[in-house]
Subunit: 373 residues, 2 copies
């Protein structure tokens, strides 16, 4: 053992000021704490219908090539995405999931005290990044369980926000706005404000939810992912669609070799299998109906959803919903809930397979009874 005489350097003042809390506790962490596995994994909006078999095969084949770094330009995936969307590769940034891309995006724009606007209770990992770069986060409440475009815009105007975050469809509520509302938002953004339009769940949404891509528009960046409908959450591949000047700026700071080579191969194969994607979307629609039926059978209300999860109103306050959540977890059902009142009266259930939802149907009445006791 050495006996250190010298002191290590000080963290930056910003790092010193950050809390040790993390955005999400993983299900594996909960399983280790509980001492037993979950029977149904329905809390992280992963796709229980899995990746395309072609993507699985591509990843399995690429495993033997893992000795090579991935292409730092993500060229082939960008080219395929460009063709898929009818845009140019210069309008695309591929990164380590939307989480990674949001971190880079915040770093590009936000320094100490720079204002950012989001909804109270919206995606916490975005907030984690804003805090992590010293930004000042301003929030507005949801309105009727929807994000509130008018209030978000007003807050952005009031604070001089550089970034305005909106998820459409929204997580954790599952609700959505039509494309026309989003277009109107873009047209009335205050000067010097970028709309961060998180479309992680857009493949599940009805036609007319996503505005047409206008990739040269410098006022908006759109976040997409292979984690949800493409069923590859563990692979960490997301992409952003934006104006070329903004896309290019990511190169100044991103981890160039950061996207796993196996994941690049998998995403390319997944994108090519649009039939699988459509099957997943159909399965998810059926699962949403089934969750609605289970909720109704138990006297609860399922919110309309354009995502791969359904947010279920437990009909009382947050404490009650937290008891329901705890009782479901005690019955080996991994689910989560919205973090902020009054949305915390709800629990959020991912669209599982028949066998997963059968377990929910079995556990929910018991959980409700226990929560009321």
């Amino acid at each position: 053992m050495t006996s250190p005489r010298q002191t290590p350097p000080a963290f930056t003042p910003l790092v010193d000021s950050l809390p040790a809390t993390v955005p999400f506790v993983g299900p594996e962490t909960q399983e280790r704490a509980r001492g037993r596995p979950f029977a149904a994994r329905l809390g992280a909006n992963e796709s229980l219908f899995g990746p395309s078999p072609k993507a699985i095969a591509a990843m399995a084949a690429a495993a033997a090539e893992a000795w090579m770094y991935g292409d730092p330009e993500n060229h082939d995936l960008k080219a395929a995405l460009a063709a898929h969307h009818g845009i140019a590769p210069e309008n695309i940034v591929v990164g380590e999931g939307i989480d990674g891309l949001l971190g880079y995006l915040v770093r590009l724009f936000i320094g100490a005290g720079d204002p950012v606007v989001t909804s109270a209770g919206a995606y916490p990992t975005f907030n984690f990044h804003v805090a992590g770069f010293g930004g000042a986060l301003h929030t507005v409440p949801y309105r009727s369980d929807h994000e509130d475009p008018e209030a978000l815009l007003a807050k952005a105007r009031e604070t001089g926000a550089k970034l305005l975050y909106l998820a459409n469809p929204d997580n954790p509520m599952g609700t959505w706005h039509p494309a026309e509302t989003i277009r109107a938002m873009i047209e009335t953004l205050p000067d010097g404000c970028l709309l961060v339009l998180d479309e992680a769940y857009v493949e599940f949404a009805p036609e007319g939810t996503a505005p047409p891509l206008a990739p040269e528009d410098p006022r908006v960046i759109r976040m997409r992912t292979f984690s949800k409908a493409y069923g590859m959450a563990g692979a960490r591949v997301g992409y952003a669609i934006c104006a070329p000047e903004l896309a290019g700026a990511f190169n100044k700071i991103r981890n160039h070799f950061g996207v796993n080579r196996i994941a690049q191969a998998g995403a390319l194969a997944a994108l090519a299998d649009q039939r699988h994607l459509q099957e997943v979307v159909s399965e998810v629609e059926a699962a949403r109906s089934e969750i609605g039926r289970i909720a109704a059978d138990n006297g609860l209300t399922a919110l309309p959803s354009a995502t791969n999860f359904v947010t279920v109103d437990c009909g009382k306050d947050g404490d009650y919903a937290r008891r329901v959540l705890a009782e479901l977890i005690a019955r080996d059902i991994f689910v989560r809930m919205p973090f902020v009142a009054p949305q915390d009266r709800c629990i959020r259930i991912s669209a599982g397979r028949r066998q997963d939802l059968a377990k929910v149907a079995e556990a929910l009445p018991q959980a409700l009874k226990a929560a009321e006791a």
Copy 2:
């Protein structure tokens, strides 16, 4: 098309000041520019001996589980690494390769103008991160093709450096210092300076190169990787060994779900197959000898190496070595060179398989002749 009236937000002043250059141009980018593939991929110090077959099998099996996010705590891998090294999991940070970990580390400590010391011509991705967080990089020259501990320490004292970067063994030169030298460095670090000891290549180094782990010592953080000897560069798994307080601080800023699930499974299997690792180390030793023989056959001098590459002195100036490099690339041999004079009189050749080095043996005499013409 929308017709934007508003302007987007300004990048931070720091981002505005950053150059658009990237640390490394990938071989795929070069292949696309050349219009044909390389015949031997010997420029990025990847392991041509591949990952353990058990790691390949584990990754192939995990591909079907890619619908699940990876464990954000990397619990199982950390536990296995702790057991392997005889340290506690609290001393380990798992991240998206050493590149990702270096980025987090710099972010923890370095703000505008904070001094950092490294060697001129050492790992450029570290410098990329220092610049990316506004640090002031101070360099000292190599001494006899080795990093110069005395000069690094003197520069750290002179500048009040918060971080001092040293790779042992070194990339791009392949040279190394004995453990005693590193221990003496740690003992004489100036107050408030952390030694960033990059040991990416340490598995290839002779006994007595790495000082014993002293994971409670707050003055040093050691970087290790599955990219080199474990043959998993494309998987993006690295780890740091450091004092628990520092390890915990990464949680304030890291991308918690950033490590690919397939990669976690692969790293776990790779770590368990130490026999494969030893075979790779033996193959690399043989390849280093073979590169030395090829160099000598052509009148060139191979530097001693404790890594999976050999740096070959072309015997003239940087312009000549760059011509040799270009002529090798023109003959479909992907190699690289040290960036900074006088080390740029050398080219760097990764330890390849027999068939790879046979191509080097064939191409090198022609490349030298062409470079002299």
